[in-house]
């Protein structure tokens, strides 16, 4: 893929964004940027503020503080919002009595687009044969694809997708992955939230990791995993309590995973091995956790440790890394419905 092959993508900027629902802080002073021409994963555990952030970006939720802009403007201030941004938020936003084509005609009308576009996007997502069916009879996967078709109605420069693979079968997920890469390959900005980390690892170029509404890391996938790799040690021991005391004394951050498992953050085997030996701690297992996205995600979202690493990873990347796979230059054939 040639990054930014065209100039059609628009940057997304989140600056100091916060949202309080009464005493609950859903998003806490969140700042990050999303580049055009790349697929950016927006990752975080359930309740970490991902959906709230995306809804603030789309003007559905009012921020308590901060700004969320697309090309420097709030979504609601864009001249042609649906030509600039397409969003997949929830697969339940349909009137069940409405037919798929009618729903898309309505979306085309609302955005000021040619209603013929409805048939085009139905074809893009593989729902041409279901155009006249009522949405109430659609499966969750079909609704997801219809939601994606709705997002594409204005041929937008930015795609915002909130858990788009929910309800999709493996074939549909693979298609969605190729489709997102194709869209990014055209220079569009693609921001996708998901909890399917293994799936995301194969799809995204950049990642933004949040937990408890706060930014934990931002950068390319390579940068984030390289920053963490080799720095998590997991020990299994019958003396977990004593190990905790030793680690506390040595100033090493750690987390109790189970009653006999301890994860040690920011240390190497060369550092922790002699320490455990000198304290004569019985070990059943001592392993270095891999630097894949899932382990990084789990480390960063556990709420303990990695303060320095997270800050380092949060630094904008001056040299974009190679994406996980080359982007297709034509849209992938849609899966059968």
């Amino acid at each position: 893929m040639t990054v930014g092959a065209t100039t059609r993508g628009l940057p997304i900027e989140i600056n100091g964004l916060s949202k309080h629902f009464g005493p609950v802080v859903a998003v806490d002073d969140l700042s990050f940027a999303v580049e055009p021409g790349r697929v950016t994963g927006f990752l975080g555990p359930n309740g970490s503020g991902k959906t709230t952030t995306l809804r603030m970006l789309l003007g559905l939720v009012h921020p308590s503080a901060g700004t969320a802009t697309i090309a420097g403007q709030r979504y609601q201030d864009l001249a042609n919002p649906t030509s600039s941004v397409g969003a997949v938020l929830e697969a339940t936003s349909f009137h069940p009595a409405r037919r798929a084509r009618t729903h898309l005609r309505m979306a085309a009308r609302a955005g000021g687009h040619d209603e013929k576009r409805a048939d085009e996007v139905l074809g893009l997502v593989g729902l041409t044969g279901d155009a006249k069916r009522k949405i109430g009879g659609f499966s969750m996967g079909m609704r997801q694809r219809l939601e994606l078709a709705t997002a594409l109605i204005g041929d937008p420069d930015v795609l915002i997708l909130d858990e788009p693979s929910n309800g999709l079968d493996p074939q549909g997920i693979a298609w969605l992955r190729d489709f997102m890469r194709y869209l990014a390959g055209e220079g569009r900005t693609v921001l996708v939230s998901s909890h399917l980390l293994s799936e995301m690892a194969q799809t995204i170029d950049n990642a933004v990791i949040v937990s408890f509404g706060q930014l934990k890391a931002q950068g390319t996938l390579d940068q984030i995993t390289a920053g963490i790799s080799g720095m998590v040690m997991r020990a299994r021991t019958p003396e977990a309590d004593r190990l905790a005391g030793v680690l506390t004394g040595a100033g090493i951050a750690f987390r109790r995973l189970t009653h006999e498992e301890v994860a040690m953050d920011g240390v190497t085997p060369e550092q922790v091995g002699p320490l455990l030996a000198s304290n004569q701690i019985v070990l059943y297992e001592l392993a270095q956790e891999g630097g894949d996205l899932e382990s990084v995600f789990l480390s960063l979202t556990a709420g303990l440790g990695f303060g320095d690493v997270a800050a380092a990873a949060a630094t904008p990347n001056p040299n974009p890394a190679t994406p996980p796979s080359a982007s297709p230059t034509t849209p992938p054939p849609p899966p059968s419905s």
Partner: protein
């Protein structure tokens, strides 16, 4: 704005509930015609009689008001509450992110569909009421010469009662609750309050939505207050409606008030 309006019109056209209201417009109008012709007086043994007095002629022409007062508020309620019930409000506000524009489009769409319901009622008047009245011995031209006095007000009532439903739907959001509030409120509660007010306070509670609508629709579109009908009569039991322009202003307040309140409260809230 035009784009948002076109989308709203298509939404309403593809909503089953809207077609149910249309389906009810004709039978409710015919029911209104039956009531007018049955209460027109006549010889013993005759269930129906032709209309003759000015009040009766206007009531026959405005018999569609019975359907309008029920169905127009429901249309307004459906227009907004279906968005929340089916969760389509998210898509609607992503497609048209300026909320005032969405609500204004709904106002115009509700107004147009309410007029359509009123026109359906007028079709029933032309197809059923006038021939029937003529068959009973009435003079058709004596009824049709009241068109100018009744129809514009009837259409305006339809629009404002539709907005009344839209406003309550915007405030309440729950579809069932909003329908119960608007229809139950205007058909049942309003009647009870009027009767209580008259009986206890000797006061004509004529500024509630349907009373205001009846006044706007030619002050006799609906029979208020016993045998005297409409605003006529000077007896102690006569019910005096507002003048047409007072009724129009009051109904405008009932239509726009909840709408403005709903916009600045619920409609601008976060969509989570």
């Amino acid at each position: 704005m035009i784009n948002a309006l076109r989308a709203e019109l298509l939404k309403m056209r593809t909503m089953p509930g809207v077609w149910v209201t249309f389906g009810l417009a004709l039978p409710l109008t015919i029911l209104g015609i039956l009531i007018v012709l049955a209460s027109a007086g006549g010889f013993p043994g005759h269930a129906f009689y032709y209309v003759s007095s000015l009040s009766q002629r206007r009531r026959l022409l405005g018999a569609g008001f019975f359907g309008i007062e029920v169905l127009a508020p429901i249309l307004g309620v459906l227009c907004i509450t279906s968005e929340y019930r089916q969760k389509t409000i998210t898509t609607s506000l992503v497609l048209v992110p300026v909320r005032s524009r969405v609500l204004l489009a709904k106002v115009i769409a509700t107004a147009l569909w309410s007029i359509f319901i009123a026109l359906l009622g007028l079709v029933a008047i032309a197809a059923v009421a006038l021939p029937w009245n003529a068959a009973l011995g009435g003079v058709t031209s004596q009824v049709t010469d009241q068109v100018g006095a009744v129809i514009p007000g009837l259409l305006a009532s339809a629009v404002l009662l539709g907005l009344f439903g839209l406003g309550f739907g915007t405030l309440v959001k729950n579809q069932v609750a909003a329908i119960l509030l608007t229809i139950g409120g205007t058909l049942i509660l309003e009647g009870i309050l009027i009767a209580l007010s008259k009986a206890i306070l000797h006061y004509d509670l004529n500024w509630l939505p349907n009373g205001a609508g009846a006044a706007l629709a030619g002050d006799i579109a609906r029979g208020f207050g016993g045998g005297g009908g409409g605003g006529g009569g000077n007896g102690p039991n006569a019910f005096h409606l507002l003048t047409w322009w007072q009724g129009g202003l009051v109904l405008l307040a009932w239509g726009v008030g909840p709408l403005i309140l709903g916009y600045f409260t619920t409609f601008r809230r976060d969509v989570t």
